[in-house]
Amino acid sequence: MAERIKKIALLGNPNAGKSSLFNHLTGLRQKVGNFPGVTVERKSGLTKLNPNEEVQIIDLPGTYSLYPTSLDERIAVNALIDTNNKDYPDAIIYILDITHLERHLLLLTQLMDLHFPIVVACNMNDIAEQQNIVFDDKKLEKTLGLKCIKINGRTGAGIEQIKDSMSAILKENSTLTSTSFFPITEKEKDVATELQKIIPARNDYHALQLVHHAKKSTFLSQENKIAIEKIIEQNNFNSIDAQLNEIMQRYELFSPIVRDVLRKSFAKAKSITDKIDAVVTNKYLGPIIFFGLMLFVFQAIFAWSTIPMDWIDNKFTALSMLIKSILPENILSRLLVESIIPGIGGIVIFVPQITILFLLITLLEEIGYMSRAVYMFDNIMQKFGLNGRSIVALISGGACAIPAIMSTRTISNQKERLITILVTPFISCSARIPVFAVLIGFIVPSYKIGIFNSQGLVFMALYLIGIIAALTAAYIFKKILKAKESSYLMLELPEYKMPHWKNVFYTLNDKVSSFVFGAGKVILLVSLVLWFLASFGPPKKMKEAVAVATIESSLMQYDSATTNLHIASKKLEASYAGILGHIIEPVIKPLGFDWKIGIALITSFAAREVFVGTISTLYSIGKDADNLTIKEKLKQEKNAAGEPVFSMPVALSLVLFYLFAMQCMSTLATVHRETKTWKWPIIQFLYMSGTAYIVSMFVYQILK
């Protein structure tokens, strides 16, 4: 039983229905991680082929051929040609869209030449039927010499047969079909033979692949790369010409098969996609619809999330009060009531907004709209040094910069990708919403302007400033950075389809839980540390503070409640958190921030939303008014001169600071992983936070 668990890779062109098949095979037993070294999402999961045989399914990124143009495609190719890769499969399930059979055979025949055991899943039979395409799976099976099974990605029909066939070919372990659709040329044969003298390869075609990919390979040693370079030179081997020749050869040989197994009578009538696109990608209407959709998305986030958010807020406050009344007053009960419960509450309260945002973005992606947005805005994006595909990152950035930065993997040009990564965090993410929401009340009072609410308009303005900042920064980076390679669009616009609700569910489940358990852990930890810092200090100083406050109170003839408040605030000032805040106060004073805000700036570096938690902790410690809303607490806050701390200029300066500053550890960590250096996250931190500091200082000094 010590046998190693077999790995089955799921492969296919983009939009072939790979994720549906993956979800059917693995269900909730899937694990989302990252491919080593990059943040391209790596999905894997266990599935039982039969009661006694369990295998691991790996969902490799979709690609059109073994010749990748983007990072995620390259990851799929690496897993197939690097025999030491941890995802190097024992067998492959190839998913094929029969309505685009010809194109889908290209990658399949390449995989056949790599001599992998393959089971072919033929998808989109329902759509084929609608298009009057008759598909003969038995004939395809015979011609290719591979098991071909009709499946339905929506209903899951055919999945059991896939499992049975996979189990069978894993057992067979026989030498594979010799059907090939690529007669290798003399020169290629020579190159492959040379290569096999230095690196063991499965066969000539595998050797040839290693040569094609040597230059951009991440797994070959430097020595081997140089050796391969030599082989290429000696044989006068032109990789791109050979690739083109191979692709043409393959099409030539398998095109007759397509005519043999497919009977199509293309309907002349315009397809639904044509009709939708005539409106949605219309020169004038298209952009209007796009901005309308975005407006709807943001409206939805705010309007639909208030009720669940208020509910969560109330429940957590009630829970705190309940526990406080039950447990005896001691250090542990205080930890629970003042730190842990509000900490968890502060995470859970974001779930409604994040869910709605990801739901809408996932839906737009699923139905095929996102690639239309890419098509419409590619040209404008290019003017700013970005790529049409950057629009997906910029939109997702409205939810969270981390998945947004991960989505840049589809951008083939490294410069455009880097710029997208660098500027995306300027887009106001959901973590800034609570900070803005608390502070906006101090900037403008709430009143109606026509159908709009004044505070809603300020919110809009903040988002707009974020977008402008991102584009401006992109333009500056475009001028500074050097381009090393040419940039491509060449994007497939898949036919519109109804969303697969199952896929939407799994994606949402994955994104929301990774927020709650990923970012949430950090937030909770920070709130614990903060509670400790704010509750304890050097014992001598703390005692002194209490003594001084008591004397002062009796001199001022305070009543007992005011005395307690005064003591609490003096204690906080003497605590570790107070000391830390005082240390940075001179630096942030020009921005209008006092030491308490300073504490919040430090702690919210973990994640911006921690600001609200910090502020509420700072002002609720020792007070009875736990159930006052944060806003009311802040309004009561006065400085030594009796003026409100949160005046309009301070609030505005603070909002702008949060808008521009790189206040997110997790994003920086993601950028590091993505760019594989510390150079870019450091540059990103410095330029964003520098901008924030200058803008806030400027605004505060003018308005104060």
């Binding site: 791109i240 669009l489 994007l491 497939e492």
Partner: protein, 74 residues
């Protein structure tokens, strides 16, 4: 040789070959094969990308990619 940027909206022609090998590799892998009938369905706003279609593939191309798709009036 004419390329698809010379086509009027809605006008169709036959792809003969590509004048750039990298573009050829990618577009052929995406299913745009020589011999196929191609038409420019629309152009993106602000002088942007070309929305082209063959029999059953819809693809967005930049102008400098589209100009490598050579055609003959079919």
């Amino acid at each position: 040789m004419k390329n698809i940027t010379t086509l009027h909206l809605g006008e169709s022609a036959i792809i003969t070959e590509y004048s750039d090998n990298a573009v050829a590799c990618k577009l052929m892998a995406m299913g745009l094969l020589p011999g196929a009938s191609i038409s420019v369905v629309r152009k993106a706003p602000f002088g942007g990308a070309y929305y082209v279609r063959t029999e059953n593939h819809y693809v967005a191309l930049r102008r400098n990619e589209a100009k490598h798709v050579l055609i003959t009036n079919g």
